[in-house]
Symmetry: C2
Subunit: 328 residues, 2 copies
C-alpha cells in the first residue's frame, strides 16, 4: 500500500441561496440567539435549483481547472453522499459524464457525515502510483429536513466540497500517515433520515413502514455524547498509528456538526483554537461535504502550507467515526 497521497487541488460549491437564522423563525418557533448559542450556526446555504449532482459537478470542474489536469487523466471518482438525486444512476457516474472523465471508474459511498474521511481511506487504498482520483462530498440535506421541526431543521445545510488526489510521487510530496475508523451500529437509531417507501402489491403494512421517517430524527443528547467521546478517541488512535502527537498537527479539520462539539474535542485533546478551524457559522452541518468545504477555504486563505500535518475527522449517522492523518 502506497503512502503517497497528494492533494493536488481542493474546491467547494454552495447553493446561491443563503438562509439566515432569522428567516427560520417564520417557519418554526426558534430564534437567532438560541440557534447561535446551541450550535454556532448563523446561516446555511439551501438548494433552490441546485442538486447533489450539480454541486458535485461544480466541484469537479473547479478541481480540474485548478490542477490543469485533463479529465481523461482521472482514474477514480468517489462521491460520498447521504442525499443522492437518484438511487440509480449514482452521483459519481453523473460527475464522470459531466466532465468527460472517460477512463475513471465511479461510484457512491454512504457513510453519512463520516463519508468524506471514509472516502479518503478508499482512495488511499485504491490508487496505484501514477493514478489520480476525485473525491467529492456532496449533499442537499434540505430535502431530508422537516422544516417545522426546530430541533433538527436549524442544523443542516447544502453544499459540496472535494479534492483531487494523486499517488504520483513525481508530482507532489503529500503522504498518508495513519488513520482510524469505527462503526457503532447499535447507536444507529439515534440519528435517522430518508426512510424509503416500502410499498408493493404484496407488502404487509408494518408499524415501522407507517412511520414515514423521511425527515431527520435525532436524539441530540446521545449524538453529542457519542461525538464528544468517540471523536477524541478516534483522533488519538489515528495519531498513534502515525506516531505523532496532537501538537505536531497544524490543523484538525473536523466535521462541522456543532461548534460545541468542536470545542469539547479541542478541550479533551488540549488543542489550541488555531488548530481548530471553524466555518459552521456560515454553512451549518453539510454532512459529507463539511470537511472538504472547510479545507478548501483553509487552502484558499493560505491557512495551510505544503508539509503541514493535518487530521481529518468525520462522524455522524451510522453511528460512524473516522480520522485520517496526512502530510499536505
Amino acid at each position: 500500500m502506497t503512502t503517497n497521497f497528494s492533494i493536488l487541488a481542493s474546491a467547494k460549491a454552495l447553493p446561491t441561496t443563503q438562509v439566515m437564522n432569522q428567516e427560520l423563525t417564520q417557519l418554526m418557533p426558534t430564534s437567532d440567539n438560541w440557534i447561535k448559542q446551541r450550535t454556532g450556526i448563523r446561516s446555511r446555504h439551501i438548494a433552490t435549483t441546485e442538486t447533489t449532482t450539480s454541486l458535485a459537478v461544480s466541484v469537479a470542474q473547479q478541481l480540474l481547472h485548478q490542477s490543469q489536469l485533463a479529465a481523461t487523466a482521472i482514474d477514480l471518482i468517489i462521491v460520498a453522499t447521504m442525499s443522492p438525486d437518484y438511487l440509480t444512476p449514482a452521483t459519481a457516474p453523473q460527475v464522470q459524464a459531466a466532465i468527460g472523465a472517460e477512463q475513471a471508474i465511479a461510484f457512491d459511498i454512504n457513510v453519512a457525515c463520516a463519508g468524506f474521511v471514509y472516502g479518503m481511506q478508499l482512495v488511499h487504498q485504491y490508487l496505484q502510483p501514477g493514478q489520480t482520483a476525485l473525491l467529492i462530498g456532496s449533499e442537499t440535506l434540505s430535502r431530508l429536513v422537516d422544516w417545522h421541526d426546530r430541533s433538527t431543521a436549524v442544523l443542516f445545510g447544502d453544499g459540496a466540497g472535494g479534492m483531487l488526489i494523486s499517488a504520483n510521487p513525481s508530482l507532489m510530496t503529500g503522504r498518508w500517515l495513519g488513520s482510524h475508523y469505527a462503526t457503532f451500529g447499535t447507536d444507529g437509531h439515534y440519528l435517522t433520515a430518508g426512510q424509503q417507501p416500502r410499498v408493493n402489491p404484496w407488502s404487509v403494512a408494518t408499524d415501522e413502514a407507517d412511520d414515514n421517517r423521511w425527515a431527520f430524527q435525532m436524539n441530540g443528547r446521545r449524538v453529542y455524547d457519542f461525538a464528544t467521546k468517540q471523536v477524541p478517541r478516534s483522533i488519538e488512535q489515528a495519531l498513534m498509528q502515525a506516531d505523532l502527537k496532537s501538537s505536531d498537527i497544524k490543523a484538525f479539520v473536523l466535521h462541522q456538526a456543532n461548534a460545541r462539539i468542536v470545542a469539547s474535542v479541542g478541550q479533551k485533546l488540549n488543542l489550541t483554537s488555531a488548530q481548530l478551524p471553524l466555518n459552521i457559522a456560515q454553512y451549518g452541518n453539510t454532512a459529507a461535504a463539511s470537511e472538504p468545504i472547510l479545507f478548501a477555504e483553509m487552502v484558499a486563505q493560505q491557512q495551510v502550507q505544503r508539509g503541514d500535518k493535518l487530521v481529518f475527522t468525520g462522524f455522524g449517522g451510522g453511528l460512524s467515526v473516522g480520522s485520517a492523518v496526512i502530510e499536505y
Copy 2:
C-alpha cells in the same frame, strides 16, 4: 496489495413470497410466455415483511454460522445496495449491530447492479493479512417498481446474497487473480430509479423535479446493447490481467439481468453452457444481490470446488461494469 482472497462461506436470503409470472397478468397486460421468452424469468421473490436490512442480516448470520467465526472477528462489512431502507443509518451499520460485529467498520456502496463486484475489489484492497470481511448485496427492488409498467415490472426481484472473505493465508488458499472495472456515465440516463424528493421552502420547481421518476425507467434496447458489448470486453480485460484464457475458467458468475444477455455473452466469448450458471428463472434481476445468490447456490450444489478459477461480472445502472477473476 495482498493477492490472498479466500471466500470462507457464501449464503443467500430470499423473501418468503414468490410471485409467478401468471400473477403479474392481473396487474398489467403481459403473459407468462412473453416474460419467459424475452427474459428467461418464471418467478421472483417479493418482500412483504422483509426489508433490505433484514435480508442482509439473515445472510450475515448464515455466513457466521457456516464459518463458525465469532462476529467480533469481522473487520469490515460492506453492503452493496441501490434500495436501502434508510439514507441514514446505512444498511451495513445495521448489520454490524444485529450480529454484534463490534470491531468491524461498516458502510454502504451504490454501484447499482455492479455493486457486488465493485465491493469485491474494495474488500480485496482493504483487507490486510489476517483480516476478514462480510460483503453483502441486498435489495428490495420491489419498492422501486411501477407495478403497472409491463416493460420493467416483470424484470426485478428482491433478495440478498453475500460472502465471508478472508485474507488470512493460513485459513485457505483462495486468490485474487485480476479484475477490470469501467463506468459509462454518459449512458446513465438509459436506466434510472429512485429519484429522491427535492422540496424545501425555498426550492424552485423544475421540469425534472416534477417528473417523479421514482420507479425504474429503462431504455431496454440501449441497456441490452451496452451489456452485450461491454460485459465481454470487461471479462476479456480481466482475464488478460489474470493471464488466463476463458477455457481456464470453471464458471462465469454473471449478473442475472436477462437470460438473453447471458447467452449473448457466452456466444461472443465462446463459452460452454456449463460455464454459464443461470438462476434468473427463479429470482429475476436482484441487482447487487444477484451474483452472490447464484454463487451461494453453486457452492451448495457443489458445482464449484476449491481451486476452481471463477469470473464474477456485474453490470447495470451507472452505467457500470466490473469483473473479478479469483481462484476459489
